[in-house]
Symmetry: D2
Subunit: 216 residues, 4 copies
């Protein structure tokens, strides 16, 4: 049986909860298609988060690895297209570090594209009633950092045949209730969306050609 690794983050920026961890842990152990889900939490810490991801990839040996992270202020499930090789933090991480314009992997490429079928995932989420879109930037904080680290690890022999990517999710309603004017999404909807992302990935070898870009 194939394994799908889902990661979520611990809370950060004074939040008591992180929807990414709540959503993926709800799927831990679930069977989707011919695979079983293993959900794990990552620290919201530069460096340590990638180290934890690398260890997980070696231990879990997943066929698919999807990292999930909180994007407070976004409206919908954001299926990320690209990770870039830079850290530029607006706030300190959970260990107090705030890197500015530092490379993630000194010998790494400028960017990695997701190897998930991002267009099919966004299409299938929407068909399942879950608001979703492809996103052209995962930011420059720990989410982009882990996304880049994941793809950098998958570019080595350990990642042969393994597909990986990143999905940003909105605030939970209980978070938005403390941040007036911010959009949110229910946990049930997030779980449904991520379950769909896994199912679509397992069932899709070649992504669909469907518009998902931005003019700027």
């Amino acid at each position: 049986m194939r394994t799908v690794l889902l990661t979520g983050f611990e809370p950060f920026e004074n939040e008591p909860i992180n929807p990414s961890w709540e959503a993926v842990r709800a799927l831990d152990g679930e069977h989707i298609g011919d695979a079983v889900v293993v959900a794990r939490q990552l620290p919201c810490v530069f460096g340590a988060a990638i180290d934890a991801m690398d260890t997980l990839l070696r231990e879990v040996k997943p066929a698919v690895a999807i990292a999930v992270g909180q994007a407070g202020g976004r409206m919908e499930m954001s299926v990320e297209r690209v990770a870039i090789n830079v850290d530029d933090a607006r706030i300190a991480d959970n260990a107090g570090a705030q890197p500015i314009d530092t490379v993630i992997a000194a010998q790494g490429p400028a960017a990695y594209f997701s190897t998930l079928p991002i267009k099919a995932i966004a299409r299938d989420m929407r068909a399942a009633g879950v608001p979703a879109a492809v996103s052209q930037t995962a930011g420059t904080f720990v989410c982009n950092h882990v996304f880049y680290g994941l793809m950098h690890c998958l570019a080595t022999p350990v990642g042969a045949g393994v597909r990986g990517g990143f999905i940003h999710i909105p605030y939970l309603p209980e978070q938005a209730a403390r941040h007036p004017g911010q959009p949110s999404m229910s946990l049930e909807m997030m779980v449904r969306g991520i379950r769909q992302a896994v199912a679509t990935t397992l069932a899709t070898d070649v992504d669909v050609r469907e518009q998902g870009g931005q003019l700027h």
Copy 2:
């Protein structure tokens, strides 16, 4: 036993569903505090919607009347503060009418304030984990029209002692899935929020003094 009248609208603007009707009908017959809920649907038609509201007020004789309407694009439950005496429609209503700068009630005042405890409602919704805020405008389409008509009717003897107001609610996720880039809220959250609005209104004689305005 006191009665609370909740109204929602039929779908409009090519939507197959209107979250306001879905949310209030889920509460039809429910006992909240010492009251029972009567939920009814209004047409999305200038004039006819107010006629239907007037008839309902006379038939149901509620202690509290709350009209609910869809506000596609809003992030959260919007507890409206004021209804203004003008129709100015960006699109046609369900009967094809598109009034521009026409008065709702020729002899009516320029505006009516909600007589619900709007600050307490927004506070209690947020405390219940439901994103919510006071809003300073209900627009100039059928929602504001019904809100004004409701308050205009309650200003007559038929409305003696009756409190009324309006709550705007976001798209449902299934609607936002067809409108990329739009925020949404789950039906369960909307129902919880409206239930709270009813409970808070029944339990609150004098609204709390709590900031809920806008700089502009």
Copy 3:
């Protein structure tokens, strides 16, 4: 010769400058149509601002009075439709007062509509290349307060035949340069827009019927 009174505000909320005062003072003494402009500054203080406005109306005896105010975050010239009879301040005014849900005029109506030709003004501004729209809310801070006070005074004999209203304007670029992510407009464009508003008002007896509302 007729006189047009334009008012702008002193700076507030830690800004060194207020674009509303910069824009109207640039028009002081200018002849527009058959009228001459008198520009005066108002304090950003609840109560005192209306007192100053009342005194100006009695002294200047204008045919048209347009109050202008800063709306940091708005994209375009906002021709306000309605002033409501409530103060609800998110921040303290320049005298330290922060009223919440207090009426502006105890015996006043719930709202006043602008008596400027708001649709013609927005249309003519746009035709002159100035981004502009009608707005359904002037907020609940000192701008709405002065707008309400202006219309309340004009509703007395002193205002017989005098038309009045309110226009909100964006940040200046130099302000937006200190507020990342905020829109702005050049002073030259603001001055052009206000000059157009005056000219259109002087030339328009009956407003045009043109859509300018909001769905919600």
Copy 4:
């Protein structure tokens, strides 16, 4: 004397004007620091735009090349950080092509980072009163296409010692006047911002370390 190449685009998407061309041509021939500006227009056409850029780089032999493009809806000058190796068009280009998920350079890297001092440019623009910020995505249309093509060419021997990058600019006010609810910026402000970008680039060997990232 060193030469700075500035490119702007021809109009697209039914616009009669493109602010990027208006802004750079206003600087054509201007001396900034020890350099002279050469401004040229690019077609808004996939493929042809990069061909034109390559030809310009060979003919003009600039020390600095900055491509500028319209980003309708953005608030401020956007100094782009990264170009990605993909075209994904929401609309057809001026030749009717609408590529989806095609690579720009088959053998090229996933992305190129700007080699302009992007943080110093954003800082100096703001200090000059021009709203500006670093941006993490240039989209997936012809702007990103040209930005990628520019950096891909500069990565060859022809680009030895040449620095390059991309700046997105908002609508002009006259454009926003036709697109209600969209922000804009005056041409004078855009020209001032681009002049500053050139001056800062010529004067800055090593970029400043200053926060300019996004959480997501």
